[in-house]
Amino acid sequence: MGKKPPLSGSHATTLALKKLATEKEVVRRKLVVTAKKLRRKATQLAATAREKERVRRKLVVTAKKLKISHETLEKKVFERTKDLEQMKAKDEAILASIGDGLVATDKDGRILMTNKAFERLLGWKESEVRGKFLSGVIPMVDSDGKIILQPRHSLKDISATVNGASGSTLFYKKKDETSFPVAMTVAPIFIGKELMGAVNVFRDITKEKEIDKARSEFMAIASHQLRTPLTAIRWALSSLKRENLPDNLKKLVHTAHETSTQMAVTIRRMLMISYLEESATEPEMVEMNLKAVLEKVVRLHDAHRLRNGLEIEVRCPQDLVAETDEQLLIEILDNLLSNAYKYTPKGGKVKLTAALQGMMIRIDVADTGYGIPKEEQRKIPKKFFRASNIASPAASGTGIGLYMVYNIVRLIGGTISFVSQENKGTTFTLLFPS
């Protein structure tokens, strides 16, 4: 290319102006773009601000709601706490008001809580014993002061009144080392199916024991005072009976002797009941030939039987051996047989049957007598009960015999039942361990 001709002055200016205009245009365009960008940004910012405002408002509302919820919750918690405190106070007041001593332990036997009566009866404050082993703090002793060990492993099985091995009295030792007789009930505490511990409710039975003792002493003295003159009367009448007396006197003496004998039996039974009720009698197990015992009882009542024109049949294997308290068994059979004779009309029959039934001995005393009216059968063996149908036709009775029999049967670990039909007869069935 040829050399450019030099520019004239105006041309250069034009060029410069053109260039300037171009540059201006570039800047303008840039500005337009920037302005667009800015507008967009501004729009975005406005939207954000709006969003922020929305969220803020929401937050304010939520905060207000939360505040209300919080206040309600606080109020509810307060109310529930108050309720619970009232309930607790009520429970505590109830526990405190129980006249009997109460102690709850965990499953290891550590004391969880006690009540006021516990503190009063034993002299220990709850704060002194909480967390300690119950058996360590309050030893259980027998009447000789010997400590009775309380098995802890059997807690699950506890659910009944606790007594000594043979119904003997248990004592609790107080803080001051003195002791008092207690009656107690121990029960397991379950939450759901889980064993949590045990609760023991006990009371001081000193007064009851004193009354029992006084009663027992009274019975012993009274029975002795009654028995002694009665024995003399009986012996005197018995020897008079053998004297050569006119018939009318003989009959009188005979009746007097029988009556005094009956009275001696009644006194013996009353004394026996008193001993049974006090659990003062313990069976003395001995081996015996049952047939010999049955025959002995039958012999005791032979005079009565012959007088009433009754037949007796005894069925018992010759070699049947029983191990029980002979005196108590005789007392049972003596009563049943005497009742059978008493309540069977002339010409009737009484059957005494004994046999081994598994591990038990079964004795049936069956008569063909008046029977016990159906509606009155459930009253047996109530003390002093006598069936209405025998009050007039049959001999005298006190209504303590069967009551005593049922008590004795329990004592020798047996059971007794009967079936009876009016004017057909009664069968008593005795079952006891052989």
């Binding site: 029975s223 002795h224 028995r227 002694t228 003159p229 024995t231 003399a232 009986r234 012996w235 005197a236 018995s238 020897s239 001696a264 006194i267 013996r268 004394l271 001993y275 009698t281 313990e282 003395e284």
Partner: protein, 123 residues
């Protein structure tokens, strides 16, 4: 010499009746009405030790247990038969420990049963 029985029984009617029953059987009888009298009688009898002692338990002044104790100290082998109103096991056991030959409850006995009960000790 005929056989000799010492009776210690505070019920006079009963004691006398026992005496009468035994006298009829040609037995010599010494009757006392409490434990103390029984011991004094034993003392007085010296060598004429009774063949049998019939002893009550509950008696005034000195009871049967007290009499038994002295008898067992002085006349170890003298047969003692207790005839008492006490039918409880404790009293019976206490007597048994003092080696009484027999124990009868008055309530279960009568005059006819007395002689058969002691006859064997008088043979």
């Amino acid at each position: 010499m005929s056989k000799h029985v010492l009776i210690a029984e505070d019920d006079a009617l009963l004691a006398d009746m026992m005496g009468k029953i035994l006298s009829k059987k040609n037995v010599r009888v010494t009757i006392t009405y409490n434990g103390q009298e029984a011991l004094e009688a034993l003392e007085a009898l010296e060598k004429d030790v009774p063949d049998v002692v019939l002893l009550d338990v509950l008696m005034p002044v000195l009871d049967g247990h007290g009499v038994l104790k002295v008898i067992r100290e002085r006349h170890v082998n003298c047969p003692v038969i207790v005839i008492s109103n006490m039918s409880d096991k404790m009293t019976k056991e206490k007597c048994r420990q003092m080696n009484v030959q027999d124990y009868f409850v008055k309530n279960d006995m009568d005059d006819e049963a007395l002689w058969p009960a002691i006859e064997k000790y008088l043979r």
